[in-house]
């Protein structure tokens, strides 16, 4: 609830031109438009695509999805799957656009789609948060689960307001000797306070004390941030926006269940404003990710990303390093460590987008805040000044909060830092379809090599191994208890044959790109001219069969 009377007495010193320069959000696809685009893609590619719903959000919005792949006999549901998940953080509208763009682009070149791979696109994985972000009514990506954040028996009664009447809900600084933040030297960006710094501030969204409890915006609308609601490092219900339990939300649960239900090989989460490709590793003090066995695969992904997008080649860093903050409960960690997928966060937007190569730092990614204004905002300051002429940031200006209190209102405008201005959106999306396609082509490809195939009368001796001809290792989990896992090789005997020695089916572990398994050997008796079949399969490949007639 806004307080118009406060606006009338606000000591507004901010330049108003900034808000006038804000790009219209209309160019971003809204929820209805997204569904129409998915349905249109499915209709135009009926042989290769199908639209469906994963479920519904807390707010009743459909979680729309599109599965597609090269035409072929193998049903999409049975193929190794590459998931394209947009905006699960509830704020990355550019991530949602990226998924739509990748799906449309790949369906536009069906002959280039890798055979036997299914793509599953979920452009709006957090429909409530994205819808409210687009409308400017809620900026932190929560879904619409009502939560009594301040424990006063009421839910969502003290949310943000446009106090200064500029049409924007931005950020507010409240002076507090115990505050953790100060303004930096140029007076725009908020940085962590050091010993002796003053004045200090607490950061809250712009808004009045709607419920009169002396606190500001402490009980905002909603909800749960879905990218904090996954199990790895989940913070607990006391945090509020992490959910009452891991996967407690219909959005996160339906996505997790769907990923587990398929042969999921790759999950690409399109979100963030670090502009890079980031690996699992949101809570390094709890769990060191990624595992060493996957470093080569992630490095390959990094090279493909750089080549496709033109962004500076970098060794991928963890999501915590890329985003400059811990990421407890992040989906990418669970998708990788529990669901067994090669999971990556792809940030369409960042200061590196559209910059010349000389402006792109090499080496590690800049630690940028997800909501700029915190530590590490130097790159965004340069971006603002050098490439936007300072437009896009509302200078901090005082506002009367009543009861002899004042605050400072200001901060980044919408469609600047978290999502790109609409005219830069094409640049932010550039190369992402090519990257997705290139990565899918690197999925493992199995080949059965017969080393020995000999017969002495009815006695047959076979020896074979499996080779991975793909660019990524073979897939699936490596369980901690050491149970057999990885590629499976099965000997199928012809009619009338008997196995004398050797295991009919064996697990061979994971095969790195280009590597071969140990050799397996069998002794059989079989009629002459009988045909043996060796079948190799893996979580990330379709089964391959090698026939031989020793």
């Amino acid at each position: 609830m806004a307080f118009p009377q406060l606006v009338a007495v606000a000591l507004t010193l901010a330049p108003s031109v900034a808000s006038q320069a804000a790009p219209s959000p209309d160019a971003y696809t809204d929820h209805a438009g997204m569904r129409m685009r998915l349905d249109a893609l499915a209709a135009a590619n009926a042989e290769r695509a199908r639209s469906f719903e994963l479920g519904q959000s807390r707010g009743g919005r459909a979680i729309a999805a599109l599965e597609f792949g090269a035409a072929g006999d193998l049903p999409l549901a049975e193929r190794p799957a590459v998931w394209l998940v947009g905006g699960l953080d509830g704020v990355s509208l550019a991530g949602a656009e990226a998924v739509l763009d990748v799906a449309a682009d790949l369906l536009g070149r069906p002959d280039e789609l890798p055979a036997h791979v299914a793509f599953v696109a979920v452009p709006w994985a957090a429909p409530d948060g994205l819808a409210r972000r687009l409308a400017g009514t809620c900026l932190d990506g929560r879904n619409e689960l009502p939560i009594d954040d301040d424990g006063d028996g009421r839910a969502d009664e003290d949310g943000p307001d446009d106090l200064d009447g500029d049409g924007l809900v931005l950020e507010m600084l409240l002076e507090d000797p115990d505050g953790a933040w100060v303004l930096d030297a140029d007076g725009r960006f908020v940085v962590p306070a050091a010993r002796g710094d003053a004045p200090r501030y607490r950061r809250v969204p712009e808004g009045a004390d709607d419920d009169g409890d002396g606190l500001f915006n402490e009980d905002r609308a909603g909800g749960v941030r879905l990218d904090r609601n996954f199990p790895v490092g989940w913070l607990g219900a006391a945090v509020g926006d992490a959910g009452v339990l891991p996967l407690s939300e219909p959005e996160s649960r339906s996505l997790a269940d769907a990923v587990l239900a398929r042969r999921t090989a790759v999950v690409l989460l399109f979100q963030g404003n670090h502009g890079a490709l980031a690996t699992p590793g949101g809570v390094p003090e709890l769990l060191t990710l990624p595992f060493d066995r996957d470093r080569a695969g992630f490095a390959l992904a990094g090279r493909l990303f750089a080549a496709a997008t033109g962004r500076a080649p970098r060794e991928p860093v963890t999501i915590a390093a890329a985003s400059g903050e811990r990421r407890p409960g992040a989906a990418v960690d669970w998708m990788y460590a529990a669901a067994g997928a090669l999971a990556l966060e792809v940030a369409p937007w960042g200061t590196c987008v559209g910059a010349g190569s000389e402006d792109q730092p090499s080496g590690s990614v800049d630690a940028e805040p997800r909501e700029a204004g915190g530590a590490g905002s130097a790159a965004w300051a340069r971006w603002l000044d050098d490439r936007r002429g300072g437009m896009g940031f509302v200078a901090w200006h005082p506002i009367d909060l009543g009861q002899n209190r004042t605050g400072l209102v200001g901060g980044w405008e919408p469609f600047t830092c978290t999502n790109p201005p609409v005219e830069l959106l094409p640049e932010a999306l550039r190369g992402l379809p090519e990257f997705t396609l290139a990565l899918a082509r690197e999925l493992p490809r199995l080949e059965v090599e017969v080393v020995v195939s000999e017969r002495i009368d009815e006695l047959v001796r076979l020896r074979a191994r499996v080779v991975n001809r793909g660019g990524l290792r073979t897939g699936g989990l490596v369980p901690a208890d050491g149970r057999p896992h990885g590629v499976e090789l099965e000997l199928r005997l012809p009619a009338g044959a008997e196995l004398l020695a050797g295991e009919p089916t064996a697990r061979l572990g994971h095969l790195a790109a280009g590597s071969a398994s140990v050799e397996l050997e069998w002794l059989c008796v079989a009629p002459r001219d009988a045909t043996f079949r060796l079948v190799a399969r893996d979580d990330w490949t379709v089964a391959v069969t090698r026939e031989l007639r020793p």
């Binding site: 519904q56 009594d148 424990g151 607990g236 009452v244 407690s248 219909p250 649960r253 529990a338």
Partner: protein, 413 residues
Amino acid sequence: MSGRLAGLVLGVGLGLPGAVAAQDEAPAPDPPAEVAPVDEGPMAAELRRLAGAHADVARLEQIGVSAQGRPLLVLAIGAVPQGDARPEAELGLRPGLLVADAYGCEDALGAESALRFARHVLEGRARDAQLARLLSTTAIFVAPDLDPDRRAAALGGQDAPRQVAFDANFPSGWLPPTVVAGSGPYPLSMPETRAIAEFLVAHPSIALVHTLTDAEDVRFEDRDELAAALDAQALARPRPAGGTLAAFCALELRRFVSERGFAYAPDGEVSSEPAADLARGYVALALGLPGLEIGTPSAERLGDGLVRVDVPLSNRGRYATAPPGPGGGGPRPELGVLLDVSGLDLVGAAIRREGDEVYRVVRAERGRVRVGSLDGGETAWLRLVVAGAEGERLYLLASAPRAGRAAAQLGLP
């Protein structure tokens, strides 16, 4: 458990993976109170016998069904007034103890001790006034077989390795199966773990959870030390291993927790402690449960219309009314004691804790005073200023999620 968690559960349900139908689907009907499966085994049969033999104070609840269809049973024990239409509601307002087997293996000692505990309180209440009082002031829940499939397989001599282990499948500190064997694809992915989690969330009054696990044993030379040791362990707020039921209870649900894991060595040899000793230890735990008591209020008229009321408020238990966080973290405010004042307008309130020399003003909103947590055995004195005429009555109700309720009233002078 936080008040927020409780509120959400009331409002929207747990929303556990696979547990709750999609929003637009009708909710699944509650499981029947009792289901008799074909192969429920001797443990369930003994629980049924106890519930039948002591129907005046014991009821058997089925909280779910195992993956293989066996019932998940909890024996609820507590004396409620004759004619109480909803005994479960009455028990839900009392501080509670849950003794739960999280091990579920061929080692029957834990489960046996839980059963003996149930028998001890049920059969001993007629001759032991302390037990009788315990049953009238607390709620005791015994769940000796939360993983009946594993127990059945073990007792049947079957080698039935399972990919998910009960006591690695809880949320707090959960790690994926690539790191911790048997943790499952996500926390509470098993129907067994989900069932006890839902039960605990639905029973915020359970203050103390004793889990029977394979936690490392600790030696005790004297078996008489056992009960005191269990008690001390609960008070120490241990930090259980991640992914366990104990961790979920301690870290997320904020209950006091103790774990079995004691072996005394009277002859110098470490041995498994007899179930009867453990059962006596559980009684000691139950006797220490927090419980609110309001003393006799006194009133003195201050002038026209205003009356000062002083009233002592105590925690009769050994455990605090709100468990502190593991490692010394403070208790959550929503778990603290509330004093609701009705019948008259509350004008002001102050509190004097043990060690305070003066009363300190506290905030009173809409007739409610937030007292905070009371340590074990602590008494706080509340000073209320109310507006009322002579003869009007003042009603006081103290409550805390883990410590039950206490009421008092008086007529104004």
